[in-house]
């Protein structure tokens, strides 16, 4: 399967502040990749580099083999882009904006757009600026569907949406992407939404990538074990197999890629006395917090 997006050795700084160093991202054709990270981890920076709005300090990003700093119009026509906050030309109404964009894309198909618009309770001449965030999200999504791009880049699509609109957005998007073999690169603050949508996950922390793999593989391999220490002075956080450790008094939450047997044996071999050892079921949000830490 071909890579639609390839970022090689991407390094970027804001002034003296390192955002990331030698970041490599590969997104295969037909897959949905979710880029997760805390605020300031570099999600929007990556989106901006992908769209050619930011020149990285070094390294390069390719989309369909073209450098994103100099994307030719034909390649840009294959990319649908959703800006954080569902930003659109707010001085237009839903008819004007459809008319405007239809002139740019030869495969423009306004059917899905009007289907979505029919669900909105907006008047035909209502300006986008006067719509709610949820309504604006449907306008932005409808325009992308009408454009019929091969690659969709979505920057924090869930921002400002209530649960109903988020679910609507995700269900529409996933059904569309899978039926049409579209590739999606997306970020979101709401991790639980991502679980319904994505195939692959890329988790970033400040300056580094913590995980990049299929989401089911990540959920299968990454584990949480809780136990109570009987000798409180033990520090397990520096151990190599520990991805993250949260400790309140003697209650420990240990996150690791190792098996339950491995962890128990390690504790036993090192004379760590504990009780109430149990494996905790996690959803993607729990796993994300477990991996990146609460702070």
């Amino acid at each position: 399967m071909n890579n639609v997006i390839e970022c090689n050795n991407l390094t970027h700084y804001y002034g003296q502040k390192l955002v990331y160093e030698n970041l490599n991202i590969h997104v295969k054709e037909g897959s949905i990749l979710g880029l997760l990270g805390k605020n300031g981890a570099g999600k929007t920076t990556t989106i901006n580099i992908l769209n050619g709005f930011l020149q990285p300090r070094s390294g390069e990003c390719l989309i369909y083999g073209e450098n994103t700093q100099k994307l030719p119009p034909e390649t840009k026509g294959r990319i649908g882009f959703l800006i954080e906050g569902h930003i659109q030309y707010a001085f237009m109404d839903i008819h004007q904006i459809e008319k405007f964009y239809s002139g740019f894309y030869p495969n423009w198909n306004n059917e899905p757009y009007w289907e979505l618009m029919s669900k909105l309770k907006v008047t035909p001449s209502q300006k986008i600026s006067t719509m709610s965030c949820g309504q604006r999200s449907q306008v932005a999504l409808g325009l992308i569907l009408a454009q019929d791009p091969d690659l969709l880049i979505l920057d924090d699509f869930s921002m400002g949406l209530d649960p109903g609109y988020r679910r609507l957005f995700i269900d529409y998007l996933r059904a569309y992407a899978k039926s049409e073999n579209k590739t999606i690169f997306t970020t979101s603050h709401i991790i639980s939404d991502m679980e319904r949508l994505i195939d692959d996950v890329l988790i970033m922390d400040y300056n580094r990538v913590l995980a990049q793999c299929p989401v089911h593989e990540f959920m299968q391999n990454f584990k949480q074990f809780n136990f109570t220490l009987l000798n409180g002075g033990v520090d397990l956080s520096k151990e190599k197999f520990v991805s993250n450790l949260e400790k309140v008094n003697n209650e420990v939450e240990l996150y690791t890629y190792e098996s339950e047997e491995f962890v128990k044996k390690f504790l036993d071999d090192n004379g760590v006395e504990m009780k109430d050892f149990k494996k905790i079921d996690m959803n993607l949000e729990d796993a994300f917090i477990g991996l990146t830490g609460k702070y």
Binding site: F53, G85, A90, F104
Partner: protein, 222 residues
């Protein structure tokens, strides 16, 4: 694509443009009503005397109108692109970025020039009705730099508004405030005759200055 781009730019500037065109016509009409009144009450000789020998500027009220129209159209056109960094949408269109910007610039400039042409022609016709050909020509030479000032201001507004860093916006605005008055130095009627063509060339030179701000935006200056 061009049609779509014209449509978008038109949606942004149409009300301001129509309002400015009408306001300009009212101001020209008002000026010549004053001329008519002076001719009626003082006689044509007195009006001519004032213009030819006292160098009295009877259409001074119009001096800053093209400038204000140029600034207004520039703001109406470029400001909405900067709200929430909407210019990203324009850069994402399947066009080369500079081509998209030049399309925007051309639409705004043509609308501005058409408005100016309307005002210029009405001024010319009314002036021809009331004054001798020589006075009309001298008057047109006098008002030409005023229109050029509006055009220059329109281009500089593009540079200032699209600039992503506030510090530089202020710097450009300061430079523009120093530069634009060159077009508006008071002088005798027809005094700008020798310099109108160099001024026009200078205006053409600054016409693409917004490309620089847009380039800085695309490189991620913030």
């Amino acid at each position: 694509m061009l049609k779509s781009m014209i449509y978008k730019e038109w949606l942004k500037i149409r009300w301001f443009l129509i309002g400015a065109a009408i306001l300009g016509l009212f101001i020209i009409a008002y000026m010549f009503m004053n001329v008519q009144r002076s001719i009626t009450f003082q006689g044509a000789n007195a009006v001519w005397y004032n213009i030819l020998f006292l160098n009295k500027m009877i259409f001074g009220i119009m001096k800053y109108v093209p400038l204000l129209i140029g600034i207004g159209i520039g703001v109406a056109q470029y400001f909405p692109e900067t709200v929430n960094k909407r210019i990203k949408l324009t850069f994402h269109l399947p066009l080369f970025e500079n081509r998209a910007l030049m399309m925007m610039l051309s639409v705004g400039m043509i609308c501005l020039l058409l408005t100016y042409l309307l005002h210029f022609m009405v001024f010319w016709m009314l002036s021809n009705y009331y004054f001798a050909h020589e006075i009309t020509v001298a008057s047109l030479i006098t008002i030409t730099p005023w229109f050029l000032s509006g055009l220059a201001a329109y281009f500089l507004v593009g540079l200032i508004v699209l600039e992503p860093v506030w510090k530089y916006r202020i710097l450009y605005a300061f430079a523009a405030a120093m530069f634009v008055p060159l077009y508006l130095k008071s002088g005798m009627i027809g005094a700008y005759g020798p310099i109108n063509i160099p001024l026009a060339l200078l205006t053409v030179l600054i016409s693409v200055s917004l490309l620089f701000s847009a380039y800085r935006f695309r490189k991620g200056e913030m």
